[in-house]
Point group: C2
Chain length 319, copies 2
């Protein structure tokens, strides 16, 4: 089963060639979530061959333009290309107004249902409770109301070893073993088969946290404890730490400190200021504190393996 993140944009605030605005897609099993939707996101989806028709959830962190200016265009394209499936959009108060106003002036009627869910950021909130995974908000601290998003698979059942099963067992008995229930002789009460003899450990319940935009925020360490992959903004290098504080952003070193404190497996840096043409200093600065750090440049994919015997189980591939 897939758990794959594709970075669509690694820039911040002002554009530069090769760095689109914030957006990324999380593919979890057969579902696609879009997190943030800066200008040009629909072009990036085309470029990286991600079908927007499969996106059923869009989470917008905050209303700075580099995180949502592409949303109205994406919705318009979905509409023109005949989308009928419902879409759920999560974002701060105002997002609904902004989209609705533009639809009204262009005399556009969406032919698919869109539900806007208003996110505050005073507390952690479960915003999607899917059969197999959840999305919680991560209240961040930025100049305006902003949430990150934590996507976490629900605990998985242990796995049955079908090869070793006695041929005499009925489907109902197999189902009991799968649930971890031992089979007993109904007359004598004797145990016939121990469930644990036929079960392997459950696959990993994977998790991914998106933290952008925010200042360095120790208050969030606990919520992010042992997340598999932490995407953390690093708008600046440590040399501009004062500017980072002033603008409620983070440095690469602070992102690495967050990674260390949360004991995540892998740190992905992004949201780089356009003042930095060269990104290797970000990697150097963060890796000095947290070695398994990678750059989340445009087109980078991160896959998280669910098998427990894989080491490493997180794979990062630059485009």
């Amino acid at each position: 089963m897939d758990f794959e993140i594709t970075i669509l944009g690694s820039g911040s605030a002002t554009p530069m060639r090769g760095r689109n605005m914030s957006a990324q897609v999380v593919k979890i099993n057969s579902e696609y979530l879009l997190i943030d939707c800066g200008e040009g996101t629909q072009y990036q989806l085309l470029k990286y061959r991600i079908p927007h028709s499969k996106i059923n959830y869009i989470c917008i962190s905050h209303l700075h333009g580099d995180h949502f200016f592409g949303l109205i265009a994406l919705l318009s394209t979905m509409n023109m290309l005949g989308r009928k499936n419902p879409l759920q959009v999560f974002g701060p108060p105002g997002l609904d107004d902004i989209i609705t106003l533009q639809l009204r002036y262009s005399e556009t009627i969406l032919h698919f249902p869109v539900s806007f869910h208003v996110l505050l950021n005073d507390t952690v909130e479960c915003i999607i409770d899917h059969e197999k995974w959840t999305v919680h908000t991560i209240p961040l601290s930025h100049r305006i109301r902003c949430n990150g998003f934590l996507i976490r698979e629900k605990p998985k059942p242990k796995r049955l070893v079908r090869q070793g099963l006695p041929a005499s067992l009925s489907l109902a008995q197999i189902a009991l073993l799968k649930q971890g229930i031992d089979l007993v002789n109904e007359n004598t009460g004797d145990t016939l088969y121990l469930a644990n003899d036929y079960l392997l450990p459950a696959h990993r319940s994977r998790s991914y946290a998106y933290c952008s935009d925010t200042c360095y925020l120790p208050e969030r360490f606990e919520q992010l404890h042992q997340v598999d992959v932490l995407y953390h903004e690093s708008t600046f290098l440590e040399e501009m730490q004062i500017r980072a504080v002033e603008t409620f952003h983070t440095t690469a070193a602070e992102a690495a400190k967050t990674a260390l404190a949360t004991k995540c497996s892998t740190l992905i840096l992004g949201h780089f200021s356009s003042r930095y043409k060269e990104l290797s200093p970000f990697l150097l600065e963060a890796r000095a504190l947290f070695p398994t750090t990678f750059l989340g440049t445009d087109g980078t994919t991160i896959t998280i393996d669910e098998r427990l015997d894989q080491d490493p189980y997180v794979h990062v591939q630059a485009h």
Copy 2:
């Protein structure tokens, strides 16, 4: 003196790789006008090395997203990069609301003055009256209120042949000759020097018309009479003429008929539907009626020479 158009986007409605949404820059002398501003226009400006800081006028034809979704992002970038110069924005009612609402929710204050000028489209209107050129609206017929734009240099003075001037003339006398006034002996009234002996014909007063989006519109032929370059949308080929009528768009053949009727020098086609991957049929269809037709693909530049002895005086260069 420059008169150059750069096509930033040749697509329509839904995106495809290599075809950005409608936007183009007209450079006239040292001034830059942006016409339409579809999503990603600021990236296209970067790509074609056109400094947004020099754009002082933005004209938006209508409020379908492929013509204006990039405006808020461009304004934001101008602001973040410290623009102080005033900007004039021309567009339909509602554009101001859309921009203002987004600035409000993102808690952004623009640090440069923006004047919004509301354009109706019931009549031709002079919207910019520059010392050397004007911009008039071209009322078009689309599904929602829409204007094209006609940019025309004002008539230029005849040019003085400095080499042949008698050395005895004062600066004041030269100025008179330049204005076409003959020099006379004040006492006798005799003509001393005929202005026309020292004057060459004026340079060409160049003109460019942008017509998008619109159905085929003979009512506009008169306004566009003898324009140098006509940019006309051709969303469809003639095989889809019924669809063109239904959606208030134009076919390549209809754009060519418009070019013929207006007696323009050069026709540029654009706003191609994404159903057409290959554009050569557009050129074939239009050139059968109007040979000096070119495709206005992304990055195409069109220069119009002001010298009367240049043939051809319009040059089209694909990127």
